[in-house]
Structures are given as structure tokens and as C-alpha cells.
């Protein structure tokens, strides 16, 4: 067996799925609006990467530059090692694209359009299987303009993956979907990942990024302001919390003294204690030994994880929409 780097699902020795450096894009000529402002992003192969940010953060512009739709005003962009504009003819058969909306003849039937898209590729996925998987069977003969918004979204997703691409760009794949359709989409994305397809998706749903992504890039104001696995992002930076329960009315002053300066202690409810600060093994040991000194056996002791939502709020000072 050839040795592989441990714990990495990614394939070394090939160009990254996406490599963006110093990307700048402005719109308008008289009073240009900067949509992307010095964005750096590297997407490794073989995982799901979520570009997470509020509307207007520059997610779609970035993705559409990677798809070859727009030229950057500055910076370099490589997708599968290719220039999306100059090498478009070589790149396009290898990527799958789901636009935020539209993309289908209003008079085309759902199945007809999917079969058509399949026939533009050398070795497409079985269309019937894809229709079943995405629950499009009941509307296969319905023309696009009569499909519901959710059905239109799922058809666009099917069209993006039917050609067996190496890399798929999904621009807000679950916007406007009901929970059931949303889960069908998530399952499909997970299956793409299992089968070795690289996926880049944009979303403004925290739970979507947490559920699906191996790697999250938080985008705000046209830049990547943080990138990492959901766990890394939730651990790092933000102030963390440790909670434990014990006898009510413990004197916390001695605990406070034993902890680092920036920590706080409180008993928000009788017998329920909260410690904030940098939660690391050292802090846990301090709390445990303080409990031992005071003859307290905590019923529970838990490190409270921050959600991506908290991280985002901390980083941007903004709530995400949706």
C-alpha cells in the first residue's frame, strides 16, 4: 500500500481545486463599487468548502470569477490549476456550475433539460437515478416556468453534477428550499464528497456550513476574514465558556484568584457555575483541583462550544440573514 498523509482525504501532488490571491473586483465605471477587495482563498481538493457570509459580501462575485464569467481587476485565480478565462475551453468540461437562479429555457421540461445537459458530457451520471435522488420524478414533464422555486433549485443542482465534474460550484444551493428538499440537497453534497468530488458552495446559513463543510471561509466586505474547519473556527479567537454544577453558594473568590486574569466566574443560577476565559486543559485542571479542595464533586462539567454564528458575530459584528 502506498503511504498517504495521515488523516487527509485530500490528494497531494495536484493543483488545489481553487487558488485565489489578491483578488479585486469592482463594478461600475463612474463611482465603482468594490465587490471583492483583496481576497485570498485556497480550496484543497476532495472536500466541501463553504463560503459563508451575508448578502453582498462578495461570495457570488468570487465564485463567478472562478467559473470564468468575469475577469478580475487585480489578483490571480487558478481553478484546477487553470486560468478560468484563458483556459476556459479546457476547464469547463471539468467543473459543474449551479447559478443562484435561472439557467433553463422557460419552455423546457425538467427531465428534457437534464437529459440535454447530460448529453453535452462524455460520461454523464444516470439521469433517472439523479431524478429519483432529488425528488424530481413527479415534475419531469413539467416545463421550467411551471416548476416551484424548490424544484427549479433541485434541477439546477442536478444539471451541475450530471457531467461527473471534478469540482462543483453551488451558489446558495438551498436558498428557498423546504426542510425536506434541503436535506435531500445536503445528502447529495455529502455523497459528492464521498465520491471524491470537490465542492465549493456559498451560503448564508450557519447550520449548512456546520453540517456540510470540511472547510469554512468567512467572507465579509470582499475579503476572507477567517478560514478553517468549523471546529477550528469555533475554538479559536472567541472567548469560551466552561460550565459545571455543584453545591449551591460556593465561594468563587478563590477560584477567580487561581485562574488567569482575563477570566470571570459566576453562579447564574443556584448550583450552576460559569467560568469564561480561554478554555484550555490548564483551565480545566485549575477548576477540577479547586473543586477537589472545596470537596465538590461536579455533577457535570462541560466546555461550551461556540457556534459558527457566535464566531461570525464576533468577527463581523453582524447577524447573518436567514
Amino acid at each position: 500500500m502506498p503511504s498517504t498523509s495521515p488523516g487527509s482525504p485530500r490528494t497531494p501532488g495536484r493543483a488545489p481545486a481553487v487558488e485565489v490571491a489578491g483578488l479585486v473586483k469592482r463594478y461600475g465605471s463612474r463611482s465603482p463599487k468594490t465587490a471583492v477587495d483583496g481576497l485570498d482563498l485556497t480550496v484543497a481538493r476532495g472536500g466541501v468548502t463553504a463560503l459563508l457570509g451575508p448578502n453582498g459580501a462578495g461570495k457570488t462575485t468570487t465564485v463567478e470569477i472562478c467559473e470564468g464569467y468575469r475577469r478580475p481587476d487585480a489578483g490571480t485565480v487558478r481553478v484546477l490549476g487553470l486560468d478560468p478565462v484563458a483556459d476556459a475551453a479546457r476547464l469547463r468540461p471539468r467543473i459543474g456550475v449551479m447559478l443562484q437562479s435561472g439557467g433553463v429555457y422557460s419552455g423546457a421540461r425538467a427531465e428534457e433539460m437534464l437529459r440535454h445537459t447530460a448529453s453535452l458530457h462524455a460520461d454523464p451520471v444516470d439521469v433517472g437515478l439523479l431524478i429519483d435522488r432529488l425528488g424530481l420524478g413527479s415534475c419531469g414533464r413539467t416545463t421550467y416556468r411551471r416548476l416551484s422555486g424548490g424544484q427549479q433549485q433541485r434541477l439546477a443542482l442536478a444539471m451541475a453534477v450530471v457531467g461527473r465534474p471534478e469540482l462543483v460550484f453551488l451558489d446558495e444551493p438551498t436558498a428557498g428550499l423546504d426542510p425536506q428538499a434541503r436535506h435531500a440537497t445536503w445528502d447529495l453534497v455529502r455523497e459528492l464528497r464521498t465520491d471524491g468530488v470537490s465542492v465549493v458552495l456559498t451560503t448564508h446559513f450557519m447550520d449548512e456550513a456546520e453540517q456540510l463543510a470540511d472547510d469554512v471561509a468567512i467572507i465579509d466586505g470582499g475579503r476572507v476574514i477567517a478560514q478553517g474547519t468549523p471546529e477550528e473556527l469555533c475554538r479559536g479567537g472567541a472567548e469560551n465558556t466552561l460550565r459545571f454544577t455543584g453545591r449551591p453558594g460556593l465561594d468563587l473568590a478563590s477560584l477567580r484568584k487561581a485562574l488567569p486574569e482575563d477570566s470571570t466566574t459566576a453562579e447564574p443560577a443556584p448550583g450552576s457555575y460559569r467560568v469564561t476565559g480561554t478554555v484550555d486543559p490548564q483551565m480545566l485542571a485549575t477548576v477540577a483541583s479547586w473543586c477537589a479542595q472545596n470537596g465538590v464533586l461536579p455533577d457535570t462539567i462541560a466546555v461550551e462550544r461556540h457556534t459558527l454564528e457566535d464566531v461570525f458575530l464576533d468577527l463581523t459584528g453582524k447577524e447573518l440573514r436567514g
Binding site: 470564468g68 439557467g103 419552455g107 428534457e112 448529453s119 471524491g196
Partner: protein, 256 residues
């Protein structure tokens, strides 16, 4: 080694000929499925042919009325598909991101344009067959060389396609819809289709004679009604329109 999954990447474009063929077939189905388009491309030309042949409304000069009308209606059919229909359809495809999405597919842009042209030509063939049958039933006796007719139809298609695509690629879809219909109506009246240009004042005749629809209907009439060999003047006018229209469309067409 992992098992081959449903989505295990095996990317690649289909052979170019197959892509263009399936795209042309799809474009043709979209054209023929659209009710408003059929009204424009089939119903109106057929009605005009039947109505004006049967009822003597317009003085069409010497000879039988249908011999005058049939070439004009054939020119109208070409204009309805290559210009009006194509402009409206392409304008809405642009508006709804169809062109944008296709641009991300393995089909190159020139392949898409080739497929669109094929769809226009197939529709025109169907129109011409239908209108010819109706005209023959009305007593039409066409003259001239079929190759000269084909040359006129092809150049006319090129001229109207260029103008239609220019409109679709630069205006908003709603504006294209309105303008394409208005132009259709104006050229129907002022382009020698059913009203001979000689009915207009002399100064107007010179200008109207330079319109692509006038050149096409006049050229078709010269061959089919009068048995002319090759109407070089009309072919020249159509060629100029084709070069200008297609050139401007290539230069100014915006894909989204």
C-alpha cells in the same frame, strides 16, 4: 482503492458534433413549442397569403395576385423566424440566465450560435414547405432557378439573424419583445411584402428599397415571379446588412 461511486469524477465534453446536434434539436423544439412564436412564424404569414390572394384588396400590378404575394410572404417568413422570433427568444434566454449557464457547459459559444442558426434554418424549411403548399393550392406558378432562391434566403437569414441577435444582446428582454414586434409590423407594411413599394412616394421608395426585407422580397419576386437569374442588387444589399448586423452583434452582444 475506493469503489466507483455514482459521482466519481469522470469529466469530459461530448464530441463536438453531438453537442451541436443535440443543442440544435433542443433550440428547434423550444421555437416550435412556443405558441406566440408560432403565431408570428406560421399563422400570420399563412393568413396573409390566403386572405390577400382571395380578396382583391391591394392592386398588385399585372399578373396573378398570388404570384406577387407568395415571394413577399416567403420573405416575411424568413424575417419572422430569423429576426423577430430569434430576437425575442434569445433576449429572454439572456434575461433568464440560459445563455450564462450554457456558457459554463462544454459547448463552446460558437457551437451554441451554430445550433441556433440550425434551429432557425429548420424552422424556415418547415415554413417554406407549408407556405409553398398553400400558395400552390392558391394557383401559384413559381419561375426561376431554385439555387437563386436559396442564395437569397440564406443571405436574408444571415442579415436578419445579425439584426435580431444585436437587439437581443444589447436591449432588455422586454424592450426586445416590444421593438422586435414593432419592427416586424413596420417592415411588413413598408417592405414590399404585401404592399408594392411603387405605392409609396418616390423619395420613400429609394430608402425603403434599401431595407433588408425589401431587398429579400424584391429579389425573391424578381426570380420567382419574373424568372430573373441572380438579382445582384438585392443580394448585395442583403450581404451588406448581413456583414453589418453580424459584425455589430459579435461586437456588442452581452451574454448576461
Amino acid at each position: 482503492m475506493t469503489a466507483i461511486g455514482t459521482f466519481t469524477p469522470r469529466p469530459g465534453a461530448a464530441p463536438l458534433a453531438r453537442m451541436i446536434r443535440v443543442q440544435a434539436a433542443l433550440e428547434t423544439r423550444m421555437l416550435l413549442r412556443n405558441g406566440e412564436q408560432l403565431l408570428l412564424t406560421v399563422v400570420i404569414p399563412t393568413l396573409l397569403l390566403v386572405l390577400f390572394s382571395a380578396v382583391d384588396i391591394i392592386d398588385t400590378g399585372a399578373g396573378s395576385t398570388v404570384d406577387f404575394l407568395a415571394p413577399g410572404v416567403l420573405a416575411l417568413a424568413v424575417m419572422s423566424t430569423a429576426f423577430t422570433g430569434q430576437a425575442i427568444a434569445t433576449g429572454f434566454e439572456r434575461r433568464y440566465g440560459v445563455l450564462k449557464r450554457l456558457a459554463a457547459s462544454p459547448l463552446p459559444r460558437w457551437g451554441l450560435m451554430t445550433a441556433k442558426t440550425c434551429a432557425v434554418l429548420v424552422t424556415e424549411v418547415l415554413q417554406i414547405v407549408l407556405l409553398t403548399v398553400v400558395a400552390l393550392a392558391l394557383g401559384w406558378s413559381p419561375q426561376g432557378n431554385p439555387l437563386a432562391v436559396a442564395a437569397l434566403l440564406v443571405l436574408g437569414t444571415a442579415a436578419f439573424s445579425g439584426l435580431g441577435l444585436l437587439m437581443a444582446g444589447t436591449l432588455r428582454a422586454e424592450a426586445t419583445l416590444a421593438a422586435a414586434n414593432l419592427v416586424f409590423l413596420l417592415l411588413l407594411v413598408g417592405g414590399g411584402v404585401i404592399v408594392p413599394l411603387t405605392k409609396f412616394p418616390e423619395a420613400a421608395q429609394t430608402v425603403l428599397g434599401l431595407l433588408p426585407i425589401s431587398a429579400l422580397s424584391d429579389g425573391l419576386r424578381a426570380v420567382l415571379q419574373h424568372g430573373a437569374a441572380l438579382p445582384w442588387g438585392d443580394l448585395g444589399i442583403l450581404a451588406v446588412w448581413a456583414v453589418l448586423g453580424l459584425g455589430a452583434a459579435a461586437r456588442f452582444f452581452r451574454w448576461e
